[in-house]
């Protein structure tokens, strides 16, 4: 039984449901991140490493951080009273899922009978062959495609942290330095969000006023 598939599918579904159910916008945004992470894990489970990583980098990382920033900067609060939805909203809320169900029922039977084919990786490797270089000094992409593994996820790591080529004495430098500055940047952003949005209810250290 594909345990991981069900686990991550559950995470992304729970996150999605929590996104809709939470009243507090910050909680909603955080559960959306959870849902995205589950989705990214599903992509990685399907061997789509690159899509998975981009899912985390772009959606969970950039967009959600921006989202949180805006929510916290604008100081949104959970609505205090629950308003009854108008009939139009309910109708709209019914039509959209119904359309999706129709689409799914049309698509799913086709997929079930599908016969997955192996990707022609060796064929793809030929596209990365560099005539000007020695055959044993080809690029990482070429080498990994030759070995029938998709290079994308490795490449992200290799580019970011640097790697030794075939010639062990020369090390291709990575992006450690900008990465560390980015770390400081994220720290500052976190501190800033807290500094701008935190409200102390009472003096916590003295406590003499109460």
């Amino acid at each position: 039984m594909p345990v991981f598939f069900y686990a991550f599918a559950a995470i992304s579904i729970v996150g999605a449901i929590a996104l809709v159910c939470f009243r507090n916008p910050v909680s909603s945004a955080i559960s959306m991140v959870g849902s995205f992470v589950g989705l990214a894990a599903l992509f990685i489970g399907l061997n789509a490493y690159f899509v998975g990583i981009i899912q985390i980098l772009v959606y969970a990382g950039a967009i959600m951080v921006l989202f949180l920033f805006i929510i916290m900067l604008l100081d949104l609060k959970a609505p205090s009273t629950f308003k009854r939805s108008s009939p139009m909203v309910i109708v709209g809320g019914l039509i959209i899922p119904f359309t999706f169900v129709i689409q799914l029922s049309a698509v799913l039977p086709e997929v079930r009978g599908g016969n997955p084919q192996a990707l022609p990786l060796e064929e793809a490797a030929k596209g990365f062959y560099d005539k000007d270089r020695d055959p044993d000094k080809q690029s990482e992409i070429y080498n990994s495609l030759r070995q029938k593994s998709l290079p994308d996820v490795n490449l992200v790591g290799l580019t970011l942290f640097g790697h030794k080529g075939d010639n062990a004495s020369i090390r291709t430098p990575g992006y450690n330095f900008p990465l560390q500055i980015t770390g400081v940047l994220l720290l500052v952003a976190t501190v800033g969000v807290v500094a701008l949005s935190l409200k102390k209810k009472k003096s916590k250290s003295g406590g003499s006023e109460s």
């Binding site: 990575g174 400081v184 500052v188 500094a195 102390k200 003096s203």
Partner: protein, 494 residues
């Protein structure tokens, strides 16, 4: 000691401050301020002894350069941050009104820690030699300023300034990345040294069709114009300067601008170095300089608020520096290079502008107003403060025998000496003279208020101890550099 430890030291100092803020007593920020200022002052010692990291360290040397300019702009960043933190000390009464638990120091801990991180970012900017490291360090500075500008969130003006800065900052970040993508697409590298080689390479095809390269450069210049406060990205400056807490306004106007200029110099250097791109690059920068000079100086005439006046003055000064950049000159035995003129200008500008902002903080504390009318009759109410303010304002205008004159003099000299090769520069010089003439009017308008207007009341304007010392020493430096700029020239090797 390798140079990269400098930034590490500053970041560690910032982390210590954050921990002190989180776990220390929140009733007083006294210790926090002292550690921040003392720690930064201590960093000046290793700055003197630091050596460039070994070129074998490819991970670092690809992104990080440690030359004369890196040292100089790191020095500027540290000095500016120290002075801004000192200013924040005397500004705390105003700051405390508009933060959490008004009237106490409670909500202001981060206000003293975040400038230290901005300082680290500016130091990284001074050393950046790759588009990637330029981008991340520039973003570190910008994001820190998003927070600091909007720090007094109980005051509508500060909040408005924060939102405006955030939106335009994000927009200019977009331009920067897009421009970098184009440059990378054309030259296949993000390293500025390699970009220089790629532009000069006759096989690269850039000479045949340089348009994509210029498109990328223009986008990046737009974003840098946001940092240095030049037309066409100047729109945020008056409102943000007026709304932000005054120490942060000073920090934006000095630190952030200086860091923007070193990055602009580093990015423009390959484009000025190559024959293929020099003419157009000169034209682009010259147009920016001319418009900036005109707009900054002419719009300043109508201002009635001193902070807004300083905002337009900051735009105008960016124009003068851009004029020096447009007159690109690599430097020889007889004359200063563009790098040296820009550094000299920024050093004098730092001294004068921070002095003017200190005066503003003192007056703001006493009168609760940033308007020029708050200066009415300052000559009777506190003669020594009025004298210092007069000297600083005339230095901003560029009166001879003040530091402001030296900066403008070298900028004009460079432009005129390069004008023989490129006639268009005469236009820039002409606009520059119009700007100087206008600037005398609006700076001396404040001097008129100080001496020739009746004061609203007769009480003496109190000057806190720190402000007194800093204003006196900055005024003294303004006069000293006015006829003896050699200390700055020694540092920049002129």
């Amino acid at each position: 000691m390798p140079a990269y430890w400098l930034e590490a030291t500053v970041v560690i100092l910032g982390l210590i401050l954050l921990l002190m803020e989180a776990f220390g007593k929140s009733t007083s920020r006294e210790l926090l301020r002292r550690v921040a200022i003392g720690g930064l002052a201590f960093t000046l010692v290793p700055l003197y002894f630091a050596v460039a990291p070994s070129p074998d360290n490819a991970e670092l040397s690809r992104f990080y350069i440690y030359d004369n300019w890196a040292v100089f702009f790191k020095l500027l960043a540290i000095v500016a941050t120290i002075l801004v933190l000192l200013m924040a000390y005397d500004y705390r009464r105003v700051l405390n009104q508009f933060t959490e638990e008004p009237g106490t120091d409670h909500g202001t801990g981060e206000f003293y820690a975040l400038p230290v991180f901005a300082c680290a970012g500016m130091m990284w900017m001074a050393s950046a030699r790759d588009l990637v490291s330029i981008f991340v360090s520039l973003e570190l500075v910008t994001i820190t300023f998003y927070i600091l500008v909007g720090y007094m969130r109980r005051q509508v003006g500060s909040l408005e300034a924060g939102v405006k800065y955030l939106i335009l900052g994000a927009l200019s970040t977009g331009f920067l990345v897009y421009g970098m993508a184009w440059i990378y697409g054309v030259t296949h590298t993000t390293n500025l040294a390699e970009i220089s080689i790629a532009i000069a390479d006759p096989d690269s095809g850039i000479a045949a069709n340089p348009s994509p390269l210029f498109f990328g450069l223009s986008l990046m210049l737009l974003s840098l114009a946001f940092k240095i406060g030049a037309v066409p990205m100047h729109l945020w400056i008056p409102d943000v300067y007026q709304g932000a807490p005054t120490p942060i306004t000073a920090f934006l106007s000095v630190g952030s601008k200086a860091a923007g200029f070193i990055v602009a110099l580093r990015i423009l250097e390959p484009f000025f170095a190559s024959e293929i791109t020099r003419t157009q690059t000169t034209l682009i920068v010259l147009i920016m300089a001319g418009l900036t000079l005109l707009l900054g100086n002419l719009a300043a005439i109508a201002q009635t608020n001193f902070k807004r006046l300083l905002a337009y003055s900051s735009i105008a000064h960016a124009g003068f520096i851009l004029l020096a950049i447009a007159a690109w000159h690599p430097g020889d035995a007889g004359s200063l290079s563009t790098h040296q003129v820009v550094s000299l200008y920024l050093a004098t500008y730092l001294v004068i502008t921070l002095g003017a902002f200190f005066v503003l903080v003192v007056v703001r504390n006493s009168e609760s107003s940033d308007e020029i009318s708050a200066f009415d009759g300052l000559g009777q109410r506190n003669p020594s403060l009025a004298a210092c303010a007069t000297i600083l304002l005339s230095a901003l205008a560029g009166l001879p025998l003040t530091a402001g004159f030296i900066g403008k003099f070298f900028a004009f000299q460079l432009a005129i000496s390069s004008a023989s090769a490129n006639k268009a520069l005469w236009l820039g010089v002409g606009i520059g003279f119009i700007g100087v003439a206008a600037s005398f009017y609006y700076y001396l308008k404040v001097v008129r208020a100080i001496y020739w207007r009746e004061p609203a009341n007769e009480e003496e304007v109190p000057v806190p101890q720190i402000s007194r010392i800093v204003i006196l020493s900055l005024t003294a430096l303004t006069i000293l550099f006015g006829f003896w700029p050699n200390p700055i020239l020694w540092v920049i090797g002129g």
